[in-house]
């Protein structure tokens, strides 16, 4: 791959790694929060809903700064996690956390929409057939929301690939450490003669984003057909 310089290649590889981890780690939480918001009535539900959607409406730089305030090595939470060897600030793990937080509302929305469309009567029927709540979720609910889970996952992944503001605020823009595709593009645009590098990364961004969208549409439609049994 000599059409990309090592620094450019680093940025692409890091972006893929960051996005993959961000998506995979947030998926279980995404499904859980979506389920809670769709099915349960509890105190503070609106607050939780607002909190989940906050990164969607806050300026990303604010989200990044809030992450820095909470997970920086000087912050109580960051310091606590550091005792267990988990460090986010100025590491690629921090980029993954920022990407996960920013992609989370998109993921939760997609999954919640498909959960709202599942008829709770089917879950009742499963209960009368002897299935415990956990089994009902695994054998009935999860298969039926699979199209939404796929869409949510791919949207979350695409968002993670494109995340800029929170990432650069939280973990800065260190080549080979925390420099992802968008922050690398930004970096190249800041130095004279960096336009060609930036352009190559822009093309890669476009390809990744478009394939993710097309893939998610195709996959979701296919799974939805299978689930409906038609």
């Amino acid at each position: 791959m000599d059409w990309l310089s090592p620094q450019e290649w680093d940025a692409v590889a890091l972006s893929l790694r960051v996005s993959l981890w961000a998506t995979l780690c947030s998926l279980p939480f995404g499904i859980f929060i979506a389920y809670a918001l769709s099915r349960w009535q509890f105190w503070g539900k609106q607050a939780l809903n607002g909190l989940v959607h906050l990164p969607l409406i806050l300026p990303p730089v604010v989200t990044g700064y809030l992450l820095l305030l909470s997970f920086g090595t000087q912050a109580p939470l960051g310091g606590f996690l550091q005792d267990f060897g988990i460090v986010f600030a100025f590491r690629w793990t921090g980029a993954a956390l920022a990407a996960a937080v920013m992609g989370f509302p998109l993921m939760v929305r997609a999954i919640r929409l498909s959960l709202d469309a599942v008829d709770p009567k089917l879950e009742q029927a499963a209960a009368t057939l002897g299935a415990s709540p956990l089994w009902i979720f695994v054998t009935v609910t999860l298969p039926l929301i699979l199209p939404g889970v796929i869409v949510g996952t791919i949207l979350g992944f695409a968002k993670a690939m494109g995340e800029f503001g929170a990432t650069i605020t939280f973990v800065s823009n260190i080549p080979g450490q925390t420099q992802t595709l968008p922050t690398a593009i930004y970096g190249f645009l800041q130095v004279p003669g960096g336009e060609s590098s930036a352009l190559r990364l822009v093309v890669i961004s476009l390809i990744v984003a478009l394939s993710a969208l097309i893939l998610s549409e195709l996959l979701a439609a296919r799974v939805a057909r299978k689930v409906r049994g038609t």
Partner: protein, 364 residues
């Protein structure tokens, strides 16, 4: 098996307060829409937790608001056939049927898969998805799925209500076989008299959230006093008769006590016991044996009760060899005939007036 249930529940503008015992066989919960039938079965299944009440099956308490006992639905061993089938769309018919059986596999006495498939005639459907089934087929699969979960009790909540007449007639014989060939007691919810007349051994009548009457099917349907929630026009007594012969002219001959009934051809061998509901308004009464008359069914009996209603009609119950025939006639006719209790009279019905869905196989 016995089921004992009491339910007290408040809805907005509607109080439900009923209690009854259901013996073995098919117990029909009968009443108008909104009379509380579904709330009662949902309470039995554990899908709804009422304000107060108690559910006991075979002496095992599943719910008791007084002591706080609450067995979750998955542990109740109560099969539930819903009005809309509720098959899992992402699973094949075969997988749907196996679903309950899988959770019941440690239990003793799970009905055998092949037996249930044969009983319901669903073998050709096994590889299909629910989306590719007709309404009637869906309901048969739903019944099979509930049966294969090895339930102690089967609840059927208007399983035929969403089907057209032809589909109902298609499924009713399977339900009769279910009643007669499996030992599983059933609670059958319906607001259709014909279904209940064909299937029920016991009838529980609900009206506006209250228990109106309960008892053996023939007794409840044959009671002239029952102001049926559906009105006198739907009243009609249940008779049990035995097939004697089938005739070339499209009629089946049945023995009822000393008399004979002629019905449109029945698909049942000689000797089979048949239950038939005769609508009270289709019965003509005579005090002398009629002659030169086109009606074929003339049953000799004795007037057991004459009950006046609000309108121009009276309900006469006629005892025919221990069975009851209800006849709805006008007050004017009663006076003209001078009908009194203990009088001998003849109950007359046209064979063609008896609808096909009023004739069923008798399990008892």
């Amino acid at each position: 098996m016995t089921l004992s249930v009491t339910v007290k529940h408040r809805f907005s503008g509607f109080d439900l307060d009923v209690g009854f015992d259901a013996p073995a066989g098919v117990t029909a919960l009968f009443g108008r829409s909104g009379s509380g039938k579904t709330t009662v079965v949902q309470t039995i299944a554990g899908l709804l937790r009422p304000t107060a009440g108690q559910v006991t099956v075979n002496g095992k308490t599943l719910f008791d608001s007084a002591t706080g006992v609450w067995v979750p639905p998955a542990k109740r061993r109560i099969g539930y056939v819903f009005q809309e089938g509720r098959l899992f769309p992402h699973l094949s018919v075969h997988q749907n049927l196996r679903y309950g059986a899988w959770f019941a596999k440690r239990r003793q006495g799970a009905a055998s898969f092949n037996h249930v498939v044969d009983l319901l005639g669903i073998a050709p459907l096994l590889e299909r998805r629910p989306a590719a089934l007709s309404g009637g087929e869906k309901q048969r699969v739903a019944i099979g799925r509930a049966l294969l979960s090895a339930p102690d009790l089967l609840l059927m909540d208007e399983p035929l209500a969403a089907l057209d007449e032809a589909r109902k007639l298609e499924i009713l014989p399977y339900l009769e076989r279910l009643r007669d060939e499996t030992a599983i007691p059933m609670i059958y919810v319906s607001h259709t008299v014909a279904e209940i007349a064909r299937l029920a051994t016991t009838i529980v009548v609900l009206n506006d959230g209250k228990l109106l009457r309960s008892g053996p099917a023939s007794e409840v349907l044959g009671d002239p006093a029952i102001p049926f929630p559906l009105g006198v026009r739907r009243a009609g007594a249940l008779l049990t008769a035995q097939v004697v012969a089938h005739h070339d002219d499209g009629l089946s001959e049945l023995a009822i006590g000393a008399g004979r009934l002629y019905l449109p051809l029945i698909n049942a061998a000689a000797g089979t016991r048949i239950r038939v509901r005769i609508a009270a308004q289709d019965v003509v009464l005579a005090t002398r044996k009629p002659d030169h008359i086109s009606a074929l069914n003339i049953l000799k009996g004795r007037v057991a009760e004459v009950r006046e209603g609000d309108g121009p009609g009276v309900m006469v119950s006629v005892d025919v060899d221990g069975q009851t025939v209800l006849a709805r006639i006008t007050r004017r006719s009663r006076d003209a005939l001078g009908l009194r209790v203990e009088m001998t009279c003849y109950a007359i019905t046209k064979s063609v007036a008896i609808a096909r869905d009023d004739i069923g196989i008798s399990g008892v």
